[in-house]
Symmetry: C2
Subunit: 424 residues, 2 copies
């Protein structure tokens, strides 16, 4: 295998013919494989389904004098707040335990900023002329969709190996129209970057012109290692507090990838002043979230230590899938010198950078061959990757055997799209 | 016992002294009783807690080829949509099954009207100069809080024994600023009124000036009889469709008072065009609601017929409590001719009308004697009952023995407040 850049025009043509015929053979197989979303696999779901055994009898539902089955306790069961405090290193009073989706808590927060304003807002955001928002790229498509949906102007900030480019962020927040910023601080989606302590501290110490700047801290993969040991993370609430920015940050997490994606437990953590302000607004929309599910989770997961043990068992399922992806890319793509990719130790994705101008075409070919991947551009605001290069590989859902087939298809399609580009 | 209006000044004074000393005795008991909210009792919760036995093993979670534990199916499990279609008499495609709270679906709908607009909106409601909203009174405090929270001007419409005063409603909707109306069409909160078919049809045939008029149809007590047989109700979606208003109405229901208040299943029903429009917006905020809980409910409740059987068992617990309230009032208050009250056959409340100007004082005295009731005025927009008369009695939570104590306190406090008024 020779690097494509060293091939002559004639050799490129021959390679293209070979790859094309490989592609045709794959298309004829009528595959139907999916590497589109970060969905846990059935094996992972089965592994944790004994969670449904832990609360069943009438006496199981009473905890700290509260009947989890009835209305009440908007901010969550006291035991659930303590669980998340342990997980995130914050105080129980700084937590608000929600329903099955942290995305809903994030959306609700931004929606309430829009309709009612935040604690330090001068007016609801719907009364502002223009709202701008910082988006480290590549990033999480569902984050971007939320801010797009409210009409905010999204400004891309490049990611480095230590997190977002902070020189750029510090400059941008001088604009009072810049009202917030998305972050996935640990195993960022999709790059798998862990923000360095220095970056976290620079973020916590930001001096935004907007008094109600909203630091969205989506700690979705806070305990989600699949290679190696648990990597500790700074308490962003504490760092913000130290920097005089106690009310600037909201942290989010969930058990969607610890227990069950469709039936997990979410949390929002923030200063007590923020929790109190938000609880008043959230109390208008719901009497309480599903506390039986909270109770079930607390009894099943117990605490951070016990949760980390469970995450080791997830890693035993996830690790081999990520190894399969990386091994295949190392073997089949690396020698061609046509792409780069990250080597994450946790999270749910492998971020892949094809030769500029080939990502969209690669995924189009994958689709023809029956392999669904996250759409090209999805990892950028408005779905537009200016380089047409980033591809998010999500290997968690398919069993290893299917994954290997899907990767074979991906490699062939990538080579084909690259050759088309080189020959054009 | 003599009607108070027939008592002389001197007799009133003597009666007041007698009642005051009864009150003092009650205060010394140090009671702590609660008739504030429509919360099901522990006996009801225990009765249905076998719901947690129905899905437990890995194979239990797969239905119609969908794994309820994973992400997906935003509009709800197909089986859950069919269940609600059966319950409400609508088509499955007209349903959207949510999380544990119909209030959240209602709030989200109004919030989205505010931030993004509805299907037929000319602009998001936050861009309208003024929004007005019709509130049949007395009504549900949490409804009023939602529309108050968005700054809508709430206009009270008196309730009759057949539902809201429709002459008034038809007149009011000629104002294009009037964007919607709250309704609890069966066993209205708190009066327990069932809207007559004629009223329902007049509502369905409204010709509001606002093209995006939003008929909120909170069918919270659709199967919640505690005396007598199930009372059928018209399909409001069909009635609106027949009147050329297919997209005007959103119906809501939940199992909060069928299974569990904190961990039930909610639904929103509307035209397919509305469900499709809303699903796109809701898809930004959540990937899917808790489908394991949906599955659990479908397996446990099965269908409308089976649900009605369960409601008979709830009625066996609820009925005696309502009988205790009505019997006590008939015995201790009726002869005094100082108040009136409704005699509902379902729902969760007894709506009580004290002599004008005495409701607040009555409840203040109750509080002193250790009995918490729904705050006076709560059943009116902005918490202000112009007559200071309506009191919502919620007898569901306490066991009958506690309920009888609480009612004794209530009757004494009512008499005392009335005498104070008569003597002033």
């Amino acid at each position: 295998m020779t690097a494509y850049k060293k091939l002559s025009k004639e050799e490129l043509k021959r390679e293209y013919e070979a790859v094309s015929s490989e592609f045709s053979v794959l298309c004829e197989k009528g595959l139907k494989l999916n590497m589109a979303r970060g969905k846990p696999s059935k094996a992972q779901l089965d592994m944790v389904s004994d969670i449904f055994d832990v609360v069943r009898k009438p006496e199981d539902f009473i905890i700290d004098g509260v009947d989890a089955r009835n209305y009440g306790n908007l901010e969550g069961l006291s035991a659930a707040r303590s669980y998340w405090a342990d997980m995130l290193g914050v105080r129980p009073e700084q937590t608000f335990v929600g329903g099955n989706a942290s995305l809903q808590l994030m959306y609700d927060l931004i929606s309430k900023a829009y309709t009612h304003g935040l604690l330090h807002s001068q007016r609801p955001w719907c009364r502002e002329e223009k709202i701008k928002w910082l988006c480290p790229v590549p990033g999480y498509d569902r984050h971007f969709k939320v801010t797009e949906s409210f009409g905010f102007e999204m400004i891309s900030v490049p990611m480095t190996d230590e997190g977002p480019d902070m020189d750029r962020v510090e400059e941008l927040v001088k604009d009072p129209a810049v009202k917030g910023m998305w972050n996935v601080p640990k195993y960022s989606n999709p790059d798998g970057v862990i923000y360095s302590d220095a970056t976290v501290r620079r973020i916590a110490a930001l001096k935004p012109a907007a008094p109600d700047f909203l630091l969205m801290w989506d700690n979705a993969y806070c305990v989600h290692e699949f290679f190696g040991e648990f990597v500790p993370f700074l308490n962003i609430l504490e760092e913000c507090e130290k920097a005089g920015n106690a009310d600037m940050v909201f942290e989010f997490a969930s058990t969607s990838k610890i227990t069950l994606p469709g039936a997990g437990m979410s949390v929002m953590a923030a200063s007590e002043a923020n929790i109190s302000y938000l609880s008043k607004l959230i109390g208008i929309q719901i009497i309480s979230y599903d506390k039986v599910n909270q109770l079930r989770h607390v009894k099943y997961l117990k605490d951070k230590e016990h949760t980390l043990e469970l995450m080791k068992r997830h890693a035993a399922i996830m690790g081999p899938k990520f190894k399969a992806v990386l091994d295949t890319l190392d073997e089949k793509i690396a020698p061609l010198e046509i792409a780069q990719w990250k080597r994450p130790k946790g999270g749910y994705f492998v971020s892949f950078y094809a030769m500029p101008g080939t990502a969209r075409r690669t995924l189009e070919l994958c689709k023809q061959a029956g392999v669904t991947m996250t759409g090209a551009g999805a990892t950028y605001p408005y779905g537009k990757d200016p380089e047409d290069s980033n591809i998010r590989i999500a290997p968690s859902l398919p069993p290893v055997s299917e994954l290997e087939q899907a990767l074979e298809v991906f490699c062939v399609c990538l080579r084909m799209a690259t050759l088309e580009k080189l020959m054009a």
